[in-house]
């Protein structure tokens, strides 16, 4: 058997790579969603100073390439802070922060999309600011933001492929390895691409289901 041929073990490698990609995606999405939402709530409470700081950092994260951020964390942090940052840690930090920045923007616009009339109606009946957020704003803001959030996460799933550059054995890195060995780029990258596609479709499908549930109250079913 020539070393350029595919072996059954390649399927195991692909599955492992897919597992790393999906695992990192889920972890960083969870952290990003939580952090971004908390930052959005910080803004809702108009904490002096903090809002400006949050806006400044999120603007930096949104307007610079993820690859640059990744290099900064992976190469820059060890050099500057004398911290030992492994590839997986660098990936988790960078992707979580990047997702959080975009979630923050979506959370802010979702909170602002809720009409003043809604907040006033709840306030005159004596609900506290927190109760208004929890019972009136959050459920409506969730319904508003689920579409943009799904689009964001589908994109962030693709962005995870960048971490292969710093040596994380994700799906893209496995693809690169198989490609080097087999010298069959068309087949390798088609299969890898298909796996990303299927994972993205799954994310979009879950998003659509949640959206359907959150908008159950709306009589508007689209044009």
């Amino acid at each position: 058997m020539r070393f350029t041929q595919f072996t059954p073990y390649d399927l195991v490698l692909l599955a492992q790579g897919l597992g790393v990609t999906v695992g990192l995606f889920l972890l960083t999405s969870l952290i990003g969603l939580l952090a971004g939402t908390v930052l959005g709530v910080v803004r809702y409470y108009r904490v002096p100073g903090l809002t400006q700081a949050v806006t400044f950092v999120t603007e930096l994260l949104k307007n610079s390439p993820v690859l640059v951020q990744l290099f900064l964390v992976f190469f820059g942090f060890p050099a500057f802070f004398h911290l030992n940052v492994g590839p997986v840690q660098a990936a988790v930090i960078t992707l979580s922060a990047n997702t959080a920045a975009f979630v923050y923007v979506i959370a802010v616009s979702a909170i602002e999309s809720i009409g003043r009339d809604q907040v006033e109606a709840a306030r005159v009946f004596g609900l506290s600011r927190w109760q208004v957020l929890r019972h009136v704003i959050a459920p409506q803001a969730a319904a508003f933001s689920i579409g943009p959030l799904t689009a964001l996460l589908v994109n962030q799933l693709q962005v995870t492929s960048l971490i292969s550059v710093i040596g994380v054995m994700d799906l893209a890195k496995i693809g690169a390895t198989l490609n080097l060995r087999t010298l069959k780029p068309f087949i390798v990258w088609s299969v890898v691409g298909l796996l990303y596609y299927l994972a993205a479709k799954l994310v979009a499908g879950v998003g659509a289901r949640i959206e359907h549930r959150l908008r159950a109250h709306s009589a508007f079913r689209g044009l």
């Binding site: 109606a121 009946f125 609900l127 009136v136």
Partner: protein, 244 residues
């Protein structure tokens, strides 16, 4: 007692309320008339603490709405019904009604829901408890809005042009309920353009003009030639409204 003392409210250079005085005693129905922009809605919004006063004082059963600590108590005593209903679109009719009793008054859920259903039944919506606002007609939404305010058992019901967004048939639905409430001795501050209806249910009528309370008279006197109609501005307003 609901006391409005010398209240001033400005938005930038515009003075919307200019030294308004008004007292509403328990059991009274007071209608507030006046043309658009006269400050009627702002007066309601000052009473329920949605606007900050620029002068004067408002107390609800002695609780000053300008003091953050007393505002919560003042708000527990007044219930507001809005012109555009302001129902929570993601909650059923019943949940719209029970949210504040459960969260603010800490009522047990089962009790609050039983009362909510009874309120819905009293406005003829017993079978719509589980409907979302988007599935209700305008008149039905406003009836839910009234139930939501009544669920807090307010001492004072503040009604801010509650029929302005409704067609005549739906207006009649809502006014029938208000007439019933007035008959039950519910205290109301009723901002409205429904002059004939105001005449039927009110104990007193006040007339606002450019932020000034021009007239404050018992209903019968308000419509008398030597009473409210002696004010040229009131006579002009009433004749104009009746032509429309």
């Amino acid at each position: 007692m609901l006391n409005v003392e010398n209240v001033r409210k400005t938005f930038g250079a515009v003075t919307v309320l200019d030294g308004v005085n008004l007292t509403v005693k328990p059991g009274e129905v007071v209608s507030v008339l006046g043309s658009s922009g006269s400050g009627k809605s702002t007066l309601i919004r000052c009473i329920n603490g949605l606007e900050r006063l620029d002068g004067g004082r408002i107390t609800v059963d002695g609780f000053d709405v300008s003091r953050p600590k007393e505002l919560a108590e003042a708000r527990k005593r007044s219930g507001t019904v809005f012109q555009l209903f302001n129902l929570y679109p993601h909650m059923t009719a019943l949940r719209n009604i029970t949210l504040a009793p459960i969260e603010v008054l800490k009522r047990p859920k089962a009790e609050a829901e039983a009362e909510g259903r009874a309120l819905l039944a009293s406005v003829g919506l017993e079978d719509r408890a589980d409907a979302y606002p988007a599935q209700l007609s305008g008149g039905q939404r406003q009836r839910v809005g009234i139930c939501r305010a009544l669920a807090m058992k307010p001492s004072y019901l503040l009604l801010d042009e509650v029929t302005s967004a409704l067609d005549p048939e739906m207006t009649a639905e809502v006014l029938n309920i208000l007439a019933k409430l007035a008959g039950n001795g519910t205290t109301m501050v009723f901002v409205t353009h429904e002059i004939e209806f105001a005449r039927q249910i009110s104990d007193r009528i006040v007339f606002l003009e450019k932020g000034v309370l021009l007239v404050d008279l018992p209903t019968r006197d308000f419509f008398a030639q030597d009473g409210g109609l002696a004010q040229p501005r009131v006579a002009q307003f009433l004749s104009k409204m009746r032509k429309d």
